[in-house]
């Protein structure tokens, strides 16, 4: 247990120092438009259901962002996982989709903004589309590579036990590649979360954490800006750790695949 305490102390050391330095700098700068005091930000954070600047409160805006992320993320998973499995398993499907995917993949999600606005208008759908694009590729790429790296001996063993094409896909390929798919989901979720904030900063947006940051900036409320950034960081961390927990708990066997 002693080691754990030492680890924890070490892990918390830098964040604590950062807060202290921030507070000292804020006192020195003495201008809340450039750097607000720690107390001001904490004050925003500890009253999350208090209305801010007439745009609803922190909780509502956070929930709106989460809802958008989940919609885009689930849509992306629903398309990318089946497509990835088919592309990894069937060479013809891979040949069919590979070129277009490799061409689209390097385009950053934000480059899709104008088209997205033109196609889906100013509203939820265009933001969800941006998130979809952001989450789609990491999920797809990880799924394909997971399916392709299923060891041949496993498939051959299943064949000699009487497995046919469909059994191979359902009972060997999909379970064997599931850790890799989950890694894709974790990376995709992280990118989706980054995309929502960016999408909400677009002129058409009128709610969400990204919107709140831009609005607070326009009226020089840096305490609200920093409070929102902290929330974004914490939610991203929870998302990542949650999926990592699932990986460790349910995919402990994954070390054997290496």
């Amino acid at each position: 247990m002693k080691i754990n305490e030492k680890d924890l102390a070490l892990k918390l050391a830098l964040p604590v120092i950062a807060v202290v330095v921030w507070e000292l700098l804020a006192i020195y700068v003495n201008n809340p438009v450039i750097l607000p005091r720690v107390e001001a930000v904490v004050n925003v954070l500890i009253h999350p259901n208090q209305g801010i600047l007439g745009t609803g409160n922190l909780i509502d805006n956070t929930l709106i962002s989460i809802k958008r992320v989940l919609s885009g993320f689930f849509l992306a998973s629903a398309v990318a996982i089946p497509l990835g499995i088919l592309m990894g398993h069937y060479k013809t499907v891979n040949n069919l989709f590979d070129t277009i995917i490799e061409l689209l993949r390097p385009i950053p999600p934000l480059a899709w903004v104008p088209l997205s606005l033109a196609w889906f208008g100013l509203g939820e759908m265009s933001m969800i589309f941006i998130i979809f694009i952001g989450a789609f590729f990491p999920i797809l790429i990880n799924t394909i590579s997971g399916v392709k790296s299923v060891p041949t001996p496993l498939i051959e063993a299943a064949l000699t036990l009487g497995a046919k094409g469909r059994d191979i896909l359902l009972k060997v390929v999909i379970p064997a590649s599931s850790p890799s798919i989950l890694t894709g989901l974790r990376v995709g979720a992280g990118i989706a979360w980054m995309c929502v904030v960016a999408a909400e900063m677009l002129p058409s947006s009128n709610a969400g954490l990204g919107y709140l940051i831009m609005y607070a900036y326009s009226i020089s409320r840096m305490d609200v800006v920093i409070a929102c950034m902290i929330i974004i960081g914490i939610i991203g961390l929870i998302l990542d750790r949650g999926l990592r927990y699932i990986e460790d708990k349910y995919f402990a066997w994954r070390k054997m695949m290496k």
Partner: protein
């Protein structure tokens, strides 16, 4: 004696990068019902290729394989294989690995668990039903692989150097257990090894292949009562005989620099 498996005029040529390599040449072989037959030869003689063709995992260039008079076309549950590499499904417990083949055939759950438990007990792994492969030693994993193959009740068991990766002690123990199971279960076994000791200890007949291209050089019947004593004069005489037969072929292989 009934012929269980028949290999007829079988040849195999591998082609890669424009090179043609003859792996097997005109193999004719009969394996009798309940027989324990071992194939051995210098490394690269095509013994594993022969096993893979019988299993249906490779196709012959010429000739054919008949099981109970029917021509073999592709892999199937009637020819169980125990591979040299570890081929257990890492996401399945010991029990669920052993029930895999039964599950594919739609055997009801209660019944397949009953069958699996019987074979898990037979290979001495009672109490490990809920363990995952990564929690087991290499020897234990091979026992599970043997149980998995036997639980599927194949017509013939093909074993491709199943104990090659194990230490000498574990290998001897597993050889004894395999013999016990074979005597109890009355299966036909087609065993591939490069160990003379293992071949004499286990087999009714030993088929010696020549260096590449693999042809049948000689078939030696081991007329020793079981359990056999590895240090008896008769055993050592068989050793000497097989060493003599193999020597020429091994020298050929070495001369070619393989």
């Amino acid at each position: 004696m009934n012929v269980k498996l028949k290999v007829e005029n079988l040849s195999k040529i591998f082609e890669f990068n424009g090179n043609r390599v003859k792996a097997l040449e005109n193999i004719n072989l009969e394996v009798y019902e309940n027989e324990f037959l071992t194939v051995m030869g210098p490394s690269g003689c095509g013994k594993t290729t022969l096993l893979r063709i019988i299993a249906g995992l490779d196709t012959p260039t010429e000739g054919r394989v008949l099981l109970d008079g029917r021509e073999v076309k592709g892999p199937g549950a009637d020819r169980g294989v125990v591979f040299q590499q570890y081929t257990l499904m890492p996401w399945r417990t010991v029990l669920k690995n052993v029930t895999f083949g039964l599950e594919l055939r739609g055997v009801p759950k209660d019944e397949r668990i009953k069958i699996a438990k019987k074979f898990i007990k037979m290979v001495g792994l009672e109490g490990f039903e809920d363990a995952y492969p990564y929690q087991l030693s290499g020897g234990m994993q091979q026992r599970v692989a043997i149980a998995r193959t036997l639980a599927n009740n194949p017509e013939i068991v093909l074993m491709d150097e199943p104990f090659a990766a194990l230490d000498a002690q574990t290998r001897n123990i597993l050889q004894n257990e395999l013999l016990k199971i074979w005597q109890k279960d009355r299966k036909t076994v087609f065993f591939v090894t490069h160990s003379i000791d293992e071949a004499i200890y286990l087999s009714d007949r030993v088929v010696v292949l020549t260096a590449r291209p693999g042809r049948i050089k000689e078939i030696v019947e081991i007329k020793l009562e079981r359990p056999r004593d590895r240090t008896s004069i008769e055993f050592l005489e068989y050793r000497k005989l097989l060493l003599e037969i193999l020597k020429e072929e091994v020298l050929k292989t070495i001369k070619r620099g393989e």
